[in-house]
């Protein structure tokens, strides 16, 4: 009787939590769009018109849709990277650095070697995975062995990567000529494009496959179970015989490798070489937003990446067609993050509302 009661309450709680997981991102997105609209009104633009342009820029034509997907590919990877870190309770804020080292590593393999495609392309991808993985794994190691906060180390490693890649591409690995970039990669290392005259490449399918793989790892393997258990309660996991330190290093390696794939696919599918970076593109930071919108679930991450892919695609069009500065998108993005992060306030308000209605405060 008691058991039944508990499992019933648990089921009810889980159902409610799932509802919150769905509702909060939706409220956050709506709030973001409203705030964006307010900024548009301030400058005398028409929000409705701007949002129609935003929508049409991705869904109004095949070309637009393809370009939107091009934006989405790296965000799926960096979103998964942040989400995977969250699952073990680590905050990988170093996606931008992992992006850069993998971007260069993949491009390097792409132009240094001449191999058949079925070896060359996987080789370049694996090189990128290792580069990003090591970059993230170091932070995991420092956290596991010395307890150094991974946020600090990953921020530091972002800038080390920025200047290191800047040095290598501008110096030892620079192609001849005026362009601050590496030589072009060979065709055998390129991620093929599959629609004539469009830039969308096989990276999108790789990203979707990796999202499925991450789902499988997290929910269908022992390692995934250990990762989630550690994220829930590291002390209990340790006590239960889970090697928390090893899992942290491995999880940060995977997280770094995922963010790295964003960089590799950018080099192999889009730019066909590595350019000298003059700052961060910001895929790592947007990945945080993607993971939050997606509530850390791979399916949610893919949807979140699509959302931000649409927004960034629309930003340029809104600027050129209705004169809304493209920075409005960044403001919308920040508002969305803030709202989702403040989930507690929704719960708090809901409780207050129930209390005022005279109901009993919910124990959960």
């Amino acid at each position: 009787m008691v058991d039944k009661n508990i499992s019933e309450r648990k089921a009810k709680y889980l159902q409610k939590q799932r509802l919150v997981d769905l509702i909060v991102p939706i409220i956050a997105i709506i709030a973001g769009l409203i705030v964006g609209a307010i900024f548009m009104l301030i400058i005398g633009a028409e929000p409705i018109k701007a949002y129609i342009v935003l929508w049409n820029s991705s869904f109004g034509s095949l070309r637009g849709f393809g370009e939107m997907l091009v934006n989405t590919v790296p965000l799926i990877f960096t979103g998964l990277a942040v989400a995977f870190g969250f699952k073990i309770g680590l905050f990988n804020i170093g996606g931008d650095g992992q992006f850069l080292v993998s971007y260069l590593a993949a491009a390097y393999i792409g132009y240094m070697f001449q191999l058949p495609m079925y070896i060359h392309l996987p080789f370049a991808l694996v090189a990128g995975i290792i580069a990003g993985g090591v970059w993230g794994g170091i932070a995991g190691y420092l956290k596991a062995k010395l307890g150094i906060h991974e946020v600090i180390t990953t921020i530091m490693f972002n800038y080390i990567a920025l200047h290191l890649v800047g040095y290598l591409v501008g110096g030892p690995l620079k192609a001849e000529g005026p362009l601050p970039a590496t030589p072009k990669i060979f065709d055998t290392a390129k991620l093929p494009r599959f629609v004539p005259n469009m830039r969308i490449h096989y990276g999108i399918f790789l990203a979707l496959a990796v999202a499925v793989l991450i789902y499988y790892i997290l929910w269908k393997t022992t390692f995934g179970y250990e990762v989630r258990a550690t994220g829930q309660n590291p002390d209990a996991a340790q006590f239960g015989g889970i090697n928390v330190a090893r899992n942290m290093v491995l999880a940060m390696f995977i997280s770094g490798a995922l963010a790295g794939l964003a960089g590799s696919t950018q080099a192999l599918g889009l730019e066909y070489r590595a350019y000298q970076p003059f700052g961060f593109v910001g895929y790592g930071f947007t990945g945080i937003a993607v993971a939050l919108v997606g509530k850390g679930h791979p399916v949610g991450v893919v949807l979140g990446a699509l959302l931000f892919g649409v927004l960034s695609r629309g930003a340029m069009m809104m600027q050129s067609m209705v004169g809304v500065p493209k920075e409005v998108i960044e403001i919308i993005q920040a508002i969305i993050i803030m709202f989702i992060a403040s989930e507690y306030i929704f719960k708090y308000l809901a409780r207050k509302w129930r209390e005022r209605k005279g109901g009993v405060a919910d124990a959960s």
């Binding site: 946020v151 921020i155 800038y159 500065p325 920075e327 403001i331 992060a341 403040s342």
Partner: protein, 308 residues
């Protein structure tokens, strides 16, 4: 040679100034238990505000406005991360993204240019009598932008506040052991609010030192990672004002070296190595290779009062 040395040291001091100010801000926030990676964004907004204030009114009104706006943004970080119990890193990230967006938006709106603002009046320099006539020292300390002196004074003031006043003791206690502080009647939430808002004061001032001090205009994303270097300086300086200052000076020195590399004949070291030095040094400091650096015990943890 002597001229080079003077140039190098005075550039070091100038480049260290925004780092010192922002690091002091980060220190107050983290000493109270709240990580503030929004320093970067608050600096950027501060830099824009100071420039706009100078454009429409006067440079010092710009500085004042930057400080006030900095405190308001920091208050938002406090509200979201202390009261709404949002993840402090997430809140900071959102503010950084917001800062890049809002400053770019306003730059386009007010000045119609996406890259930079027009040149505005800066705060000029202060000359210190007598000192400016001493060789080398005069060249370094004798005539600098006001922010240099303000930053150095603020280091002393911060040390005094943090270690010599009951207020400072309270800040440190809520960052080390909030439950214990609460049990002796210290308002944990209130102290954290004050400390985070103080960090906005310093980060806003640091931003102003960029746009109406070091330069006389606003450039898109001009904080360019200085907020994060300041965070590094604070860690490297072990969460103390004097330590943060010394670390900031070291980082400023690396920056000055790469800026003056041509002049002083330091071309054999790639400038990127000098640029990444602060980050590598900070990692080494954290790992204990050069003296272990340990954060306040409750840094990053939201405080949830136990129900009685």
């Amino acid at each position: 040679m002597l001229a080079n040395l003077t140039a190098l040291l005075s550039t070091t001091l100038r480049m260290a100034t925004p780092l010192i100010l922002a690091a002091l801000g980060g220190m107050f926030s983290e000493r109270s238990g709240v990580i503030n990676i929004a320093l970067e964004g608050i600096m950027l907004i501060g830099a824009f505000t100071a420039m706009a204030g100078s454009y429409f009114f006067s440079p010092w009104i710009g500085v004042l406005a930057a400080v006030i706006v900095g405190m308001i943004i920091a208050a938002a970080h406090a509200l979201v991360s202390i009261s709404f119990r949002a993840d402090q890193i997430v809140s900071g990230t959102a503010i950084n993204i917001f800062a890049a967006g809002i400053t770019g938006f306003l730059l386009r709106l007010i000045f119609g240019d996406a890259g930079q603002s027009p040149s505005v009046q800066d705060v000029g320099t202060w000359k210190i009598p007598f000192i400016k006539d001493i060789p080398v020292i005069g060249g370094v300390f004798g005539e600098q932008i006001p922010f240099v002196y303000i930053a150095l004074i603020m280091v002393g003031v911060s040390y005094w506040i943090l270690f010599k006043t009951p207020f400072g003791l309270r800040i440190r206690s809520v960052g080390e052991h909030p439950a214990a502080a609460d049990s002796v009647g210290i308002n944990v939430i209130g102290m954290r609010y004050i400390a985070v808002i103080m960090s906005g004061f310093f980060a806003g001032l640091a931003g102003a030192s960029l746009s109406v001090g070091l330069l006389d205009l606003f450039v898109k994303n001009m904080s360019s990672g200085r907020g994060f270097i300041a965070l590094a300086a604070m860690i490297f300086g072990r969460w103390t004002p004097q330590g943060a200052m010394l670390a900031a000076l070291l980082f400023g020195f690396a920056d000055a070296l790469q800026m003056l590399a041509q002049t002083i004949g330091l071309t054999f070291v790639p400038r990127q190595f000098l640029l990444m030095a602060p980050y590598i040094l900070t990692i080494l400091a954290l790992t204990g290779v050069i003296g272990r650096s340990t954060p306040p015990a409750a840094d990053g943890d939201p405080y949830i009062k136990e129900e009685v």
